[in-house]
Symmetry: C2
Subunit: 268 residues, 2 copies
Amino acid sequence: MSMNNIDNTDLTKPEKRNAFSELMSSRGRQQRHIREHNNEAKECQSYSFSARDGLGPYIAHPESHSANTVVYYNDDFVVIHDKFPKSTLHLLLLPRDTEKTRLHPFDAFEDIEFLNKVKAEVKKLRPLAASELRRQFGKYSAQEAMRQEALNAETPPDELPAGRDWDKEIMCGVHAHPSMNHLHVHIISMDRHSERLKHRKHYNSFSTPFFVRIEDFPLARDDPRRHPGREGYLRWDFVCWRCGNNFGNRFSELKRHLEEEFEHWKRL
Amino acid sequence: MSMNNIDNTDLTKPEKRNAFSELMSSRGRQQRHIREHNNEAKECQSYSFSARDGLGPYIAHPESHSANTVVYYNDDFVVIHDKFPKSTLHLLLLPRDTEKTRLHPFDAFEDIEFLNKVKAEVKKLRPLAASELRRQFGKYSAQEAMRQEALNAETPPDELPAGRDWDKEIMCGVHAHPSMNHLHVHIISMDRHSERLKHRKHYNSFSTPFFVRIEDFPLARDDPRRHPGREGYLRWDFVCWRCGNNFGNRFSELKRHLEEEFEHWKRL
DNA sequence: TATTCCGATAGTGAC
DNA sequence: GTCACTATCGGAATGAG
């Protein structure tokens, strides 16, 4: 799925290495060297320094990770599959700009030029994500039936029926209080159908204003989402993203309901 | 282990039956009759009417229960094994006096004559309980070694060494806020070694002033134990009954510690 | 203030 | 604010016709 490759040697040029060094934690060069020496895939994914720095290795060395994880990368971005997806499709868009990657997204996106670069990359990424949804669920979808039929015809037509607009089923944005230190934009399908969705915060971080869509930036100075703790988004009742039913504190009941909704959703 | 039997027919004499009828809940005679008809052992132990009336059947019909449960009974008392023992030895002394059995122990024991009858029965029961502890743990006890040795000699002496004073390892009293509606006095060994000890309240109800020893009655008017909720005994930190160590809220750690203490305690 | 089951909540440790 | 493990805490039902 890799779309662009960057010359590996670019990353080892002195100026580049210095830049990437800033991605690392505050420990000294020597220890960093030891770590880079042990830089196997398994090691990279563990919480070697801090649990919150887990995205750093993907940004620093996307080429050293499996294609199962890294969707694509270029000079400015790395796109990976979230290791703990909270929906059937859950990607992370990681800007590599060393001036931004350690910033809170609200601060990073104050730079309109940078924001626009991110928005442009999201715009590029959306169709990729939509096509992945079609690949996974097209066979169940009523709206896809004609398109699938045309595809399977003996002589497929030059122009396929549009089928379902999967782009509508994807949302892109950041958490008002990210848990990982490196700037990351979630590209996530709506379904919330995942074994990894286990806690209240998992659900509400994608289903309340705690999730701030990229198109909502730049954020107004008085936007309440700037104070997610004060607003208590993560403690809100569970509300189904699709039907709006309120499940109070009953997470298990919500999970069972999400299963049902998923079955309907993929058949639309 | 039964020491006294009462004539079964006594319980069915009209005046007696009326008396025992008061032990039942507020439902009518007809339903009561149906219940007594279904009065099998299993049925008696279930929470047929209310979870808090579970001791009633033992008081009303001790003769219809297994000797594994009923230790002994006479006209005035029934002694049973607690169905959910919170120590290796845990008996309940149940006064049968229909004027008292529905009272809170603090009220029932205001009647000094009645209190003295209960104290006398406790005094009788203690040696029985102590001998049961000796039976169970004498073989581990250092203080019992000489006595056990004498017992196992070819010609046992007329007078055995005293051995360990197991009476000290028993405490007798009531809960400041009993959970079961019928008046009951706990006869319980100190060890708190039981699979049934599962919750904070289980432990603290026997290890704080929430447990009021029978010898502390009559209770002063201003005794703080009259207000167990206000005093918050059941919410106290866990404190080992033997070494006094404080385990905070860490119930599991307390449980592991109790296991160790038990191994030492039985070897004294 | 019973037990039991189920589930929500809270604290910890991760190299 | 990661995950994963353990454990604490919290509500609801508990029978029988």
